[in-house]
Amino acid sequence: MKPTLKRSNAPIFWALFGAGGMLSALFGPMLVFITGLAIPLGLLLPADALSYPKMLAFTQNFIGKGFVFAVIALFLWHAAHRIFHSLHDIGIHAGTGAKLACYGSAMVGTVIAAYALLSIGF
């Protein structure tokens, strides 16, 4: 053991991972069903439920904007963390480069999502 212990910064990534995991467990299957099955196949939901004017109105609403941002950003942080920790299983021994690539792409996705949602306006 090292005599002086350095506090780990992992809680930041772990909290984002945990939040994303919780959110994807709660909303992921439903979103797959709505966007991948119900709308394209015309099941249960009105055909224009995801039409441009409706989705624009949804993302211009404060709560809708927050929901879309959380779903995109937290899903990405969850995926980045999981992929990073799974890399050694496919023979990549994760170092700083892999860390930057994984968490960096989540960060880029988060920034793009924030920018796009803000540029739509309220």
Partner: protein
């Protein structure tokens, strides 16, 4: 020597051999061992040492899953060899190796120095909140207070969980399952006041966040301890402290 019945069954035991003074790398050697249905894998390797090759080295003591000395990889799975039976592998060959993820001292004997250092680092004893005199009598605990730590106190330091943990395999600095389970055992004991000192280790870069919640440590534990649970409870504890330490400073934050 096992009692010889009329039909003597013989099992092949493939043993990992390594003598760092003469061998460049570990190799394996196959022995044919006569056995009876009540013989453990430990008794199998004892037969080899007594009758076939006296140079075979391994640790053992109690033969009854109490001491935690005889952990080995048996067909690739960490087991106490004293409670694993040859009959469950027969007629196939059984492969016996030193515990994964540890340096080999010789044959099936691993170097446990790293683990001992970790064990010391968690201060595995009750650190009283305040000095207590004999006149004050014994500590009293409710069943609820006992339940919080009791299962974690069953650890026998056999290190099977370390042999099971892929993250310890990747980084031997990781404090690991058993040490964290024991750390947690003292932290949640109502008699103990040493939590803050131990939490520095939990929160550190050697601490609980190496764990990726595989859970194999708890699966292989011969004493039904759930180290994965201790590790993951402490991820939450460490994360809460990480974000709230500025709100409620209590010193010691690094």
């Amino acid at each position: 020597m096992p009692h010889m019945s009329d039909i003597q069954k013989v099992i092949e035991i493939e043993v990992l051999r390594y003598n760092p003074e003469t061998d460049k790398a570990p190799s394996s050697q196959v022995f044919e061992v006569p056995f009876t249905d009540d013989m453990s894998v430990l008794q199998g390797v004892q037969y080899i040492k007594d009758y076939l090759d006296g140079s075979l080295s391994f640790r053992w003591s109690c033969r009854m899953a109490i001491c935690g000395s005889c952990g080995m990889m048996i067909n690739g799975v960490p087991h106490l060899s004293c409670e694993t039976f040859l009959r469950d592998y027969y007629p196939a060959r059984v492969r016996v190796e030193a515990l994964n993820h540890f340096p080999i001292e010789r044959d099936l004997v691993i170097n446990m120095e790293g683990f001992i250092n970790k064990l010391e680092s968690i201060q595995p004893y009750i650190i009283p909140k305040e000095p207590r005199t004999l006149a004050q009598g014994e500590y009293l605990q409710t069943p609820e207070q006992l339940n919080l730590y009791e299962q974690f106190s069953s650890c026998i330091n056999c290190m099977l969980c370390y042999a099971a943990c892929p993250q310890f395999g990747l980084n031997p600095d990781f404090i690991g399952p058993a040490a964290t389970a024991l750390l947690h055992r003292y932290n949640v004991d109502s008699r103990d006041g040493g939590k803050e000192e131990r939490m520095d280790l939990v929160r550190s870069e050697e601490g609980v966040f190496h764990c990726t919640a595989v859970g194999y440590c708890s699966e292989v534990c011969p004493k039904h301890v759930d180290p994965a649970n201790a590790v993951n409870q402490n991820k939450t504890n460490a994360a809460v402290d990480y974000f709230l330490r500025f709100v409620s400073p209590k010193g010691g934050a690094k």
